[in-house]
């Protein structure tokens, strides 16, 4: 296992401690959920639908009110801080849904990504055009007309504009074609290698666990399991409850009849 930066005693980059949070007063979705990411780590979060994965990310990013527990960034307490302040501190976030500005053009969407540092826009735009050439071609098209996958790329690009030091991704690969999924995972990993701490929620669980340093399995608003990606991916209980055997079956059947 490479790149696991969990040398004990190291200071966490982001840490959620016993977070209790919810949308409506009196209904908690997260019931004491904890998560920690150390410098340079890539963390994967998986779990059944409605487990509270997105809610956890939103709670960390100040979009959902945290009722108790704390969220820290470095040694700053960022619990319930305003979102735009977090952005200033270098946290980037890609929501699961509604992740683009539909009536703005693609270029304007990206410009929004670097709203706080307009001086660097040219340079960063060029970098993004390099990374996402298909967005470049459509830069004057309004984002509302994009296909599902195109939206997803744009959402990712927008978050990358500001070169965050912590990146929160909510299902970045959903809706992408297989090759783009791979590209997204690997690109994220690469970004991570440059020292950016990544926390990623995924339903493409196997791939996510393959590539992440550590993973958390969330269920009913609690972190049910955690461990390195590989451990989780092979934990029979995790497989049965969350991963399913579909991918495995197919892989096996495939390797069975197709001589490698």
């Amino acid at each position: 296992m490479s790149g696991t930066g969990v040398a004990t005693g190291q200071r966490a980059v982001v840490e959620a401690k016993d977070v209790v949070a919810g949308y409506l007063p009196g209904v908690n979705i997260l019931n004491g959920c904890s998560l920690v990411a150390y410098p340079g780590e890539m963390i994967g979060i998986i779990g059944p639908n409605g487990a509270g994965k997105s809610t956890l990310l939103k709670a960390m990013f100040g979009l959902v009110k945290v009722h108790s527990g704390s969220v820290t960034l470095g040694d700053r307490d960022i619990t319930n801080l305003r979102t735009n302040q977090l952005v200033e501190m270098g946290v980037g976030f890609v929501p699961q849904t509604n992740n683009v500005f539909p009536s703005l053009t693609i270029e304007e969407n990206l410009r929004m990504g670097l709203f706080l540092r307009p001086k660097r826009i040219r340079e960063r735009l060029d970098a993004m055009w390099d990374l996402f050439p298909n967005l470049h071609e459509r830069r004057d098209r309004s984002a509302g007309a994009l296909s599902g996958g195109e939206r997803q790329s744009l959402a990712m690009a927008r978050a990358l504009m500001m070169e965050p030091s912590v990146l929160l991704l909510d299902e970045p690969s959903a809706g992408l074609s297989p090759v783009r999924q791979d590209e997204t995972f690997l690109r994220t990993r690469r970004i991570n290698k440059t020292g950016v701490c990544v926390v990623m929620v995924e339903q493409n669980a196997r791939r996510c666990l393959q590539i992440c340093d550590r993973g958390y399995v969330l269920d009913q608003g609690r972190d049910a399991h955690s461990g390195t990606g590989r451990e989780l991916a092979n934990d029979p209980k995790v497989i049965e409850l969350y991963l399913g055997t579909l991918a495995k079956d197919v892989d096996e059947s495939k390797s069975g009849d197709a001589p490698a």
Partner: protein, 322 residues
């Protein structure tokens, strides 16, 4: 409909299915012996760019057909067109499509659904301020109580209502949404909405269901059990056309796969054949779609360049269409 009953009996059997499929014309737009959906010369342009340009397509009754293709290939737009949510640019200029023998060229979205072709949306459309069960019950067809005049007389629809509710409960249980029955749909998580969308579409007992990326965002374990359910429906005679990017899913349940790129239909065939088609691998699947991404070797520049090359191929494919 004796045809269909014969077909459905046969089609519950995988062997029979494989046999049937092996007889199909595997060229893009090839004809099928018993096609439920038939599409001719549909194009859709946005400004100068052609999003869909399908010359001919047939979908076999009683099978599960997957529609795959790169992002922006025009799959969703194609769905929109044939379900009446959008109008082809070629309307009136040769565009023609028919479902179950019924011409749909000028039909509205609702009549398409009434005819038995029901779709789901890629970006979900949950009815937020209604409860999950109400969402479900809206899906049922031919409700007497939906008639303005009958609606005032409870007796005329109470029994049907109970039946519908029972059915909805059953589906909800299968889609793991039963506990959420009385919650507002607006409070569902992203994946749960997908599930609700699918379950709601199934409430109408369609002849053919069109699913737009049904499993994106759905937990893998659940995906697996839902696929079983869909196969069951197929075995009962339902036709399924779905768009999906998860190749495991495609491979697992589809009897037939059609590939779209740059708005056009580029390949057809059984899953294995299509997925070993080098063009498809190049432009869509990529060389790594079943390798272990956890290997840091993949992060080497060469490997990355290779992936970028594949993406480039996908992009070029798209570019041509403009």
């Amino acid at each position: 409909m004796s045809d269909q009953t014969v077909a459905s009996r046969n089609l519950a059997d995988p062997v029979a299915r494989r046999e049937l499929v092996s007889g199909f014309d595997a060229s893009p737009g090839g004809s099928k012996p018993d096609s439920i959906l038939l599409v001719d010369k549909i194009t859709r342009q946005f400004g100068g760019m052609t999003a869909v340009d399908v010359e001919h397509l047939e979908v076999q009754r009683g099978l599960i057909t997957a529609l795959i293709g790169p992002n922006g290939a025009g799959k969703t737009t194609f769905f929109n067109l044939i379900t009446g949510f959008d109008r082809p640019t070629s309307a009136g200029k040769g565009a023609h499509w028919a479902f179950d023998g019924r011409t749909l060229d000028k039909t509205s979205a609702s009549s398409v659904a009434q005819a038995g072709m029901v779709r789901t949306f890629q970006l979900t459309k949950a009815l937020s301020a209604m409860t999950v069960i109400e969402n479900m019950m809206l899906g049922a067809q031919n409700q007497a109580g939906e008639n303005l005049f009958k609606s005032m007389f409870r007796g005329s629809w109470r029994k049907q209502e109970q039946e519908i509710e029972a059915k909805a409960d059953e589906l909800l249980a299968r889609f793991k949404l039963y506990e959420k029955k009385d919650d507002y749909a607006g409070s569902l998580s992203g994946g749960q909405r997908k599930l609700l969308e699918m379950a709601r579409a199934l409430m109408s007992d369609p002849k053919m269901i069109m699913l737009d990326e049904p499993m994106a965002g759905v937990n893998p374990a659940l995906t697996q059990s839902l696929l079983g359910h869909i196969q069951g429906l197929r075995d009962e005679g339902m036709t399924v056309l779905f768009v999906e990017h998860d190749m495991h899913v495609v491979r697992h349940i589809s009897d037939w796969v059609a590939v779209m790129a740059e708005g056009r239909l580029v390949a057809e065939g059984p899953a294995d054949t299509v997925m070993s088609n080098p063009a498809v691998i190049d432009a869509y699947l990529g060389a790594h779609h079943d390798t272990d991404l956890g290997d840091d070797a993949l992060l080497s520049d060469e490997a990355f360049e290779q992936i970028e090359g594949e993406v480039e191929a996908e992009r070029e494919a798209e570019e041509e269409q403009q």
